[in-house]
């Protein structure tokens, strides 16, 4: 007999699948512990010793600097390219499309090596005023392409191409009625783009752009092929000397993972900021 005031008593559904999954995970964890963690070559003590070494921290700083600079240039150039691609001017459209085609169509690694050896293609960088003898700028390429300059150039140009596509998609996602309303208020196309369309496009742009930042942080490791002074270059230099390859790769992995985790938290707050005014509480749109 059940009385209306007493909670119902029933045998709950048994989730056998969960037990099976837990068993499988335990088995795999055991395998992992006995093979990877127990390997004598992992050397946790070595990892700990190198994790906060000066040159590793310098590498982390350079990696962060490369990421920040390349994303800043990449996003700025990407917005420019996206607006050019959507422009009424056919010259700008073709130039932007060609740029995206080239830098998206060749591997980033090739671009990095290319910028690293730019001096082999163009020995001197010279800018003159056409049809005159005026020289605005004249330097050997290798004197300009020093430090992180070639790495930043390669990463930025590559990022511009991808950012352009993301920004373009964001602009196209904004209701055309928004542009009409801006025009009807007497705004010029440029003002309407800057004040009305782009701020709304940011909501669509922010999530994939957060992904781009994370991808960029890891892609900077590729500049180790031109001795880019980044985190990856730092650990490579060390294990080239002491042959402790695995512990030092673990050092790099730990740092990348920590930085990406921090960026993910940042991404959450940025997306929330650009979602302002968009959480509908009824009404149209």
């Amino acid at each position: 007999m059940t009385s209306p005031n007493r909670p119902l008593k029933a045998v709950p559904v048994r989730h056998y699948g969960r037990w099976a999954a837990a068993a499988a995970v335990l088995a795999l964890a055991y395998l992992y512990a006995t093979t990877v963690l127990a390997s004598p070559n992992l050397e946790p003590a070595t990892i700990g010793r190198y994790l906060f070494k000066d040159y590793v921290l310098d590498g982390v700083r350079t990696t962060l600097l490369l990421t920040a600079l390349s994303m800043a240039f990449g996003i700025a150039g990407g917005i420019l390219l996206a607006v050019m691609r959507l422009s009424a001017n056919p010259v700008l459209r073709v130039v932007a499309a060609a740029f995206v085609w080239f830098f998206r169509g060749t591997p980033l690694l090739v671009q990095i090596v290319f910028f690293g050896f730019l001096g082999a293609l163009i020995p001197r960088l010279t800018i003159t005023v056409p049809f005159t003898d005026l020289v605005v700028f004249d330097q050997p390429t290798n004197a300009v392409m020093i430090g992180i300059v070639p790495a930043v150039l390669a990463l930025s140009f590559n990022e511009m191409a991808y950012a352009a596509e993301i920004v373009r998609a964001g602009i196209l996602a904004v209701d055309p009625g928004q542009t009409e309303a801006a025009y009807a208020l007497g705004m010029t196309p440029a003002l309407s783009m800057r004040r009305i369309v782009l701020p709304q496009a940011m909501r669509v742009i922010a999530p994939p752009m957060g992904n781009e930042v994370i991808t960029m942080l890891k892609s900077t490791s590729l500049v180790s092929v031109i001795a880019g002074r980044d985190l990856m270059t730092a650990v490579q230099t060390v294990y080239a000397e002491n042959y402790k390859v695995i512990p030092l790769l673990c050092v790099a992995a730990i740092w990348y993972l920590a930085l990406v985790s921090a960026l993910s938290v940042l991404q959450y707050f940025i997306e929330r900021r650009f979602g302002r005014g968009q959480r509908a509480v009824g009404g149209v749109r």
Binding site: A184, L185, M187, T188, Q278, G283
Partner: protein, 253 residues
């Protein structure tokens, strides 16, 4: 006196589709003109031509004496630059069927945006006037609300305040109540009625026959891209001369 809107043989074609087939229409300053007609009759297209959101294919369209979208130099017509077109639109307010409020700005931000960015008013002056305009449309307490938090009727009233913030000499309304729930139509029409009483020149595309009869000075009935008949509300709505007008009114009244 210069007509506020003067259209002569205005045509608009999209490829082979002729949407406007020679519209002649004049709206005097201070006049309220309602455009009626079945959907697809070209009334919204004509309204959009007036502030150059659509370009006219043939004919002449003048607003306050100036050609829309062109400048005449001698015998030749010259297209206006985008900045010149934008400058002409400043004096023409427009209210859309779907409101088109800027969702990333508050109600107050929506009203302030153009005075600050287009007219170069100071933020303080623009804010003060924006508050007064929101008060005028009965939404003083919603200044800090984002559009998504407002009902359709409230959004449309903010949209009217936003257009008025530019101190327009002409207001265009493109089916301003068609996207609203029936019980919200009245509050928007009340604002428009008050605006008409203040002497604003208005061109209104609408299906609200009651509003047309009560507020309009002129009613224009369009069908198939032409003006079928026009006159006072009493003439067009009360004693239509054409079969097409009668058929339309029989359906909507």
């Amino acid at each position: 006196m210069t007509a506020m809107i003067h259209a002569e043989g205005v045509r608009k074609t999209y490829g082979h589709l002729e949407v406007l087939r020679g519209i002649d229409l004049t709206v005097a300053p201070g006049e309220v003109c309602c455009l009626l007609g079945p959907s697809g009759s070209g009334k919204s297209t004509f309204l959009r031509c007036v502030n150059h959101l659509e370009t006219v294919t043939a004919g002449q369209l003048r607003v306050d004496g100036e050609l829309v979208g062109y400048r005449r130099r001698g015998e030749k017509l010259h297209e206006l630059r985008p900045s010149e077109i934008a400058a002409r639109r400043r004096d023409i307010g427009m209210v859309f069927q779907r409101f088109n409020l800027f969702p990333h700005l508050t109600a107050l931000g929506n009203v302030m945006e153009a005075p600050v960015r287009v007219l170069g008013e100071t933020r303080a002056a623009a804010r003060e006037r924006a508050r007064a305009l929101l008060d005028r449309v009965g939404l003083a307490d919603k200044a800090d609300a984002y559009p998504a938090m407002l009902s359709g009727g409230q959004q449309q009233r903010v949209a009217i305040a936003r257009a008025l913030a530019m101190r327009p000499k002409l207001m265009l309304f493109d089916e301003p109540t068609s996207a609203l729930d029936p019980e919200l139509v009245g509050e928007v029409l009340d604002v428009m009625r008050a605006l008409a009483a203040d002497g604003m020149t208005m061109l209104v595309v609408t299906h609200e026959m009651g509003f047309a009869r009560e507020v309009a000075d002129t009613v224009v009935f369009m069908d198939g891209g032409v003006v079928v008949e026009s006159g006072t509300p009493a003439q067009v709505l009360g004693d239509p001369q054409h079969d097409r007008t009668r058929a339309f009114l029989a359906k909507v009244l």
